[in-house]
Symmetry: C2
Subunit: 889 residues, 2 copies
């Protein structure tokens, strides 16, 4: 017979899988000898068995009875005793906290007879009948699905009859009458009487807690929080204690340190003559925990010593609930406490200083996501008004500025602006650089605006689809509110909220520190972040490089701790005022025209590379040859079509638009993502890659002549077959051999086409390094166009539980990750010295960084603002994990 029930004295805090978090911690406190009311926990195994079959597993209730008898003996009270009844609380408690998601039933054991005993024992008749009516109400709703309104109506009627406004105005007689009314409600909705057998009450309560695991709201919460559905909940049955038995009673919650800032010293609230739910309901105002020192010095001292003991025992911030019943302190719950991102860093280093944990353990107490939160400016919470609308929180941080509707306006502005667009494209880049933040009405977290903004570390709210943008009229309309060109808005990319007017912003002290601001060096948070990052750097195995296309980006990346550039995109060097040259290249009618366009681009590309190599002197700079499809450099087909049709309808000459339209039609592709781009362009357009290779080589030679240490590498995009890479390598090596003074330049490839991963052993024969382009690998491996799918059906997919998080945000370890593992393994087998990195956006995602550590990569590369996050997560992945440490998720 399986063991389904554990007395509190039998469990311990490491049995969370079996007993849930609450049960395991109650057991732990009981074992520590702390004053926990007697009780027992029914395991998650029992819950899973119940949910699978619809009935409790054989023997479970017998075990419950056995443990109940022990409790009765210990307390010298009996369940249902008409003179001195034992009352029970029945509470859910899964492995992971799901606050408010599942059911609790209090005062189990009250019946028409035992209520009399409770009244006698407590000496408070009103309290006894109020408890009884609460049980019927809670039991009816939870166990028997009686609609809550039915009880509310009866309560309201009782108050009207008594001529009182609040529940507390009802006296004993009225409550006795209300109990009768409640029993009628119960019967009317269930067709049976409220159960007068206390054991039946207990059994039904336990089963209803099991069932509450699969309630709609619990399932939704688990999907959001990425908690597996198959875990199930445990059920804790505990003797009731009462904080509402007069002046010597009360209840409170407390933290062992301040969970908001991490400051040392206990922190909490106490409410005299009240139950726990009264604190939650906020019926009366609680007092600071310190006041208990005056109210009840003995219990305060006992509580302080208990909390100190718990913190040392759990080796972390603890969060507790307690009740004082007529002068006796009872511990009702403890757990490792939730805290803000700032508090997490501060507390982790405090615990190191106090000798409680090691630095390795401290790394497991913080997360990259928390560090990310700390790196963005934030609105002052005290001064935040009601948001106008909420869109997709696409790139975190707070920004305030005047509304502008196009890139040129943004560039021309000499004050802070917010660029507002339906959606952005590469042409908006100058405006995005100039603006404080970006707001769009279309696209999701992987839209162009979102990706570029995150790359820049700039706040962005996307897909605010109730915005009606009329760029010509210079207005945005939201539910009747009209915002005009020049009006000030504030956007919060961390929450997706958009505010009218200017909300005060506080810059991130962490970023100020990275940027070299000495004023923040004394800040406790900054010191804590610095210390944990330094430790992470000391132990991590993954290198951290930056995705950076310009010298300023490269400089910032160095300040943020990058050990090189893992992805320098050359397409951004083809935009702006160089676009005209690119159009010439695309429209070239013959070799001469094409060569002329390439010749004109060469010195510009070379100058770009000189600057970047200078900024990254002594560190590798991996330069990707041109990747995007050509149509991205020309106006949109739809715009040109409309322009030409309009001109022709009016009898005008469409002029250059006609020429461009022909070119765009010629190169138009149904699925440009899967078309002529990357290495394919290089193999089809004579001289294109050669121009880029020459620019890189000549830039390196210039730097060498200047006495510097340039370390460029050439990366070929979109390779699917080794023959493609061989063809490019052949041409590049021949060209490099003709240029004087060039340092050694390694040639490698992106692994971003599934076939490249599947044939990595072959490709490694021609590649000195691999860099996973996990964005494209995800697009092709799942068949998801990032431009299309996030907005269209990812929401529905998350609802359906098909995935908990977008695979563009966190790498899909099972599917796409398998391609990564295949390629690492087979690439290294073919060429043991192969360098393997990743330069997709996943390179800066905390969970993905840990995956890449496990997969054995050499480095991750990410946007400059994510570098500290990646450093921290790489350190966490490598840090020794003590068994007792509860990891931050």
């Amino acid at each position: 017979m399986s063991k389904f029930v554990y007395d509190f004295i039998e469990g311990n805090k490491d049995l969370k899988d079996l007993l849930g978090g609450k049960g395991a911690n109650l057991a732990e406190m009981t074992r520590l000898g702390l004053p926990v009311p007697p009780g027992f926990t029914i395991t998650t195994d029992a819950c899973r068995a119940y949910l699978a079959t619809g009935t409790a597993p054989a023997g479970m209730f017998a075990q419950v009875e056995e443990h109940l008898r022990e409790m009765e003996a210990q307390l010298d009270k009996r369940l249902g005793d008409p003179r001195d009844p034992l009352l029970l609380s029945v509470r859910s408690g899964g492995k992971f906290s799901m606050p408010g998601m599942m059911e609790t039933i209090l005062d189990v054991g009250l019946t028409d007879t035992s209520v009399v005993g409770l009244a006698a024992q407590s000496g408070d008749e009103r309290f006894a009948w109020d408890s009884y009516r609460r049980l019927i109400q809670m039991f009816g709703k939870t166990v028997c699905d009686v609609p809550g309104e039915a009880f509310e109506h009866a309560l309201d009627a009782a108050k009207v009859a008594a001529g009182v406004a609040a529940d507390t105005g009802l006296g004993t007689a009225e409550l006795q009458h209300l109990v009768e009314e409640y029993k009628k409600v119960f019967h009317a909705h269930t067709g049976r009487d409220f159960p007068q057998a206390p054991h039946e009450q207990l059994y039904l309560a336990i089963e209803s807690v099991f069932r509450s695991w699969n309630s709609e709201r619990a399932m939704l919460y688990r999907r959001q929080e990425r908690i597996p559905h198959e875990l199930g909940t445990a059920v804790n049955v505990m003797a009731m204690v009462f904080g509402n038995l007069g002046a010597g009673s009360g209840t409170g919650v407390a933290f062992t340190r301040d969970p908001a800032t991490g400051q040392r010293g206990v922190y909490g609230d106490y409410l005299e003559n009240a139950q726990g739910e009264d604190v939650v309901a906020g019926i009366r105002n609680a007092v600071p925990l310190q006041d208990l020192q005056d109210i009840d010095p003995a219990n305060f001292a006992e509580l302080m010593s208990t909390m100190d003991r718990l913190e040392h025992h759990y080796r972390d911030l603890c969060d507790i609930e307690f009740t004082i019943e007529r002068g006796k302190l009872w511990m009702l719950q403890t757990r490792v406490g939730k805290r803000t991102a700032a508090a997490a860093f501060v507390i982790a280093t405090q615990l190191v200083d106090e000798g409680i944990i090691t630095l390795d353990e401290a790394l497991h107490r913080v997360t990259g996501a928390q560090l990310g939160q700390l790196m963005f400016p934030a609105f002052d919470p005290a001064a935040t008004p009601q948001p106008l609308i909420t869109g997709v929180a696409a790139s975190p941080g707070a920004a305030v500025g005047r509304v502008v509707f196009d890139s040129a306006q943004a560039v021309a502005a000499d004050d802070h602006v917010i660029l507002v667009r339906r959606e952005t494209n590469p042409d908006d880049l100058p405006g995005m650089i100039a603006a404080q933040g970006i707001l769009t009405s279309h696209g999701g977290k992987t839209s162009h605006a979102a990706v570029v903004a995150r790359g820049m570390g700039k706040p962005c709210v996307c897909g605010a689809d109730t915005l009606d943008i009329d760029a010509r009229a210079g207005t945005v309309t939201v539910d009747g509110t009209v915002i005009r060109d020049g009006d000030v808005v504030s956007i919060d990319g961390t929450t997706g909220r958009v505010y009218l007017g200017a909300v005060p912003v506080r810059p991130s002290p962490v970023v100020r520190h990275f940027e070299g601001d000495p004023q923040v060096s004394g800040d406790a948070l900054v010191a804590a972040v610095d210390r944990l990052l330094a430790h992470a750097d000391g132990i991590r195995r993954l290198g951290v490089h930056a995705n950076a296309d310009t010298a300023p980006d490269a400089e910032r990346a160095r300040r943020f701790g990058a050990a090189g550039i893992g992805l320098c995109r050359t397409e951004h060097m083809f935009l702006g005022d160089r676009r005209e040259l690119v159009e010439r290249l695309i429209l070239a009618a013959d070799d001469a025209e094409r060569t002329a366009a390439l010749d004109a681009l060469l010195p510009l590309q070379r100058a770009d590379f000189v600057e970047i190599l200078e900024a990254m002197d002594g560190l590798p700079v991996t330069i990707r040859l041109l990747d995007p499809p050509l149509h991205e450099f020309l106006p949109a087909l739809e715009d040109l079509t409309a322009r030409v049709a309009r001109a022709e309808a009016l009898g005008d000459d469409p002029g250059r638009d006609r020429l461009l339209l022909d070119a765009v039609r010629r190169i138009h592709e149904s699925n440009p993502m899967l078309g002529l781009r990357g290495v394919r362009l290089g193999l089809v357009i004579p001289g294109l890659f050669a121009m880029q290779v020459r620019a890189i080589a000549e830039a390196a030679a210039i730097r060498v002549r200047a006495g510097a240490d340039p370390r460029p590498e050439i990366m070929v995009p979109l390779v699917g077959a080794v023959q493609e890479l061989e063809a490019v390598r052949h041409e590049a090596e021949a060209l490099l051999a003709t240029i004087d003074g060039v340092p050694p330049i390694r040639i490698g490839t992106m692994i971003e086409v599934p076939r490249a991963a599947l044939t990595a052993g072959e490709i490694a024969q021609s590649a000195e390094f691999f860099s996973f382009g996990t964005n494209d690998l995800t697009q092709m491996g799942w068949g998801f166009s990032r431009d299309d799918v996030e907005g269209s059906f990812f929401g529905r997919y998350r609802e359906l539980g098909i995935f908990a998080v977008s695979p563009f945000e966190t790498i899909d370890a099972k599917g796409i990750g398998r391609l990564v593992r295949i390629a690492v393994e087979e690439g290294r087998a073919a060429r043991p010295e192969l360098t393997v990195g990743v330069c997709g956006e996943h390179g800066g995602d905390p969970e993905s960084v840990r995956f890449f550590h496990t997969a054995g990569l050499d480095y991750v590369s990410c946007s400059p603002y994510r570098i500290p996050i990646a450093r921290l997560e790489a350190g966490r992945a490598a840090a020794h994990r003590t068994a007792a440490t509860s990891d931050s998720r």
Copy 2:
């Protein structure tokens, strides 16, 4: 020391890898005791070593000398002997025949002194000097890269000086003078004298044959013919024999059966007093081989017995070259002869009847590609004029008809028409069905026109890009020629040729037979095809199903031998006059409108399924739920944009176009291939899949009530994660349970997203069958949009040798095939009874069918016209292969 040189008596026909085809067969004939001039073969190993290092491997020339001494002893002649010189031919010969691609040098050994000996021995001074001048010319061009024109100029000058028109007019003295001129040309271009050392001539000739392996034209040929570049060529050195020494001499080529029809009886040409190259040059007319019986009865008899012996020895049609030198027959070459597709089938069954090979071996003598050729109507070769243009040979067969420019015209026509379009789309389907053939100016082998035409078995020429189609004017212009609406053209989809006017067509007797025409049952070819297909059916392990969407297609598929429908696409049931309902579905503003549209579609879908299930009664019909993106059912964005812009510019109301444009914009996707389609549609559009599942179930129930045996299966497209399939299965099973009288319906999935293959073990837990969609798997695995890439860069990729054949035509076994193997293995591991098939276009491609056999699939599914091909190839894959059988490629 490696052995680099094999005397002919040392080799045999199975050493083709080492000795090349020609060398191995010369050795085989020598071992059989046939009259082969003495000689030896230098191995492909030596060639590879030479090509890798640029010099002959150590010891090779010493071995050549040793074998040469043996030849000299055997013939009692010496190389360079001034009285009776041994002369040598030096010929290339790789593993696979590459006719005319590499070099041959004849008469090696002639020098200023040995030419005199040749004259004396042959008694023909003119012959000797003509041979010498030919050697200088051939050697100069081949070994020393002297331009051919330089020799031509000298020859022309000699003819002018002699006052003769033809080479044959030059006498001995003039040829002696020409030799001097040739030597001057040689010196002028090489800076050295023509080598007078015969051994040096031989060494240089051997090396130049090695080098010719890597000539441009040889490399191009190998790419086209898919011959690996690393094989290298062998070199055959043989004593010269001369067919041009007067009346008792001659030369000929012969086949042991008619290579065009397969008819029994030798077949060939003979030319008296001539060398082999004269036959090729066509200077004089050859006579039928039979005439040799009168000219030289003894040698004719010897030749006949030799050919009979060779055919029995090789157990196949042989092709030979021979020379008679002054009454002595010499065999100069033999090989298994090339033959037409028809001859291949006829000869294979003849050889079975003659007891020479088994039926299993016979299957290896024919190919699916050959059977494919036999299934299309063809133009009468005797009556074919010059083509007007040549486009892409997109779907084989011959068709003649009047030019029409749109689908409606084609449908309305009551005679044969050719549909001429820039490109086609699903709306052209009725016109394509009505037309005899399709001609487009855009798109390649995987364009819509090509894919649909192949599916229908209808001739199609695509991408004829010099066609200037003006549908409004009703004209097509090609290089100044104007074809008008109603003019007759003939198109040959097998060759891509387009002819003006009507060319006579012969229907395929094989297809007539499948279609039940009794008139062709006596045809030798039809009997041979039938017999080999029956044998293939008896031994194959792969089932063959059909891709068919309509009852007529299903009926045809059954006649062609399909054992079920592997892919019934439901999207075709959403076109034509049902499009209006689909527009309502897409434009639906609320649930009620959407439900109304679905309710209207239900009976139409149900009726479709009833018909198909009837046509395939008793066999499985795998029905794929709706797959394509919704925009395919609406007008094109570009068209609507232009229409609306035009209307607005003119102040008109764009009306419904405005509404459609809004909808198209709303659902517009940058990469629809990777967007909202397949299972994603089903999960996002409430009721869509449910309507289809209901239609299938109700159709099956109707058939069951009619006493039939319907076997529908439901296939879910584009699944990437098991959760998607589970969601659909959950809904479908709940729905099926509500409909009475439904037979068991299996639910399975396409495996067409790479992630599905990578997580096949999970997916198999919810799938009763897998069907590989290798088109999409190729698109996503390579990152190739089939609509875009074939026309844009596949040509260049083939040139570069990145692939020899489009991966959309033959499955890429290494990359995409790996996904297939992973999915088969892990799917079966998770569910041993899993059925696994393929329904991409590869299911009908011969080489791919063999891959699917090896990968362990249960069946392939292909368009009806490819079913016999797949049956044959599945049989070939299973057929026992005798070691001695040379397989058809």
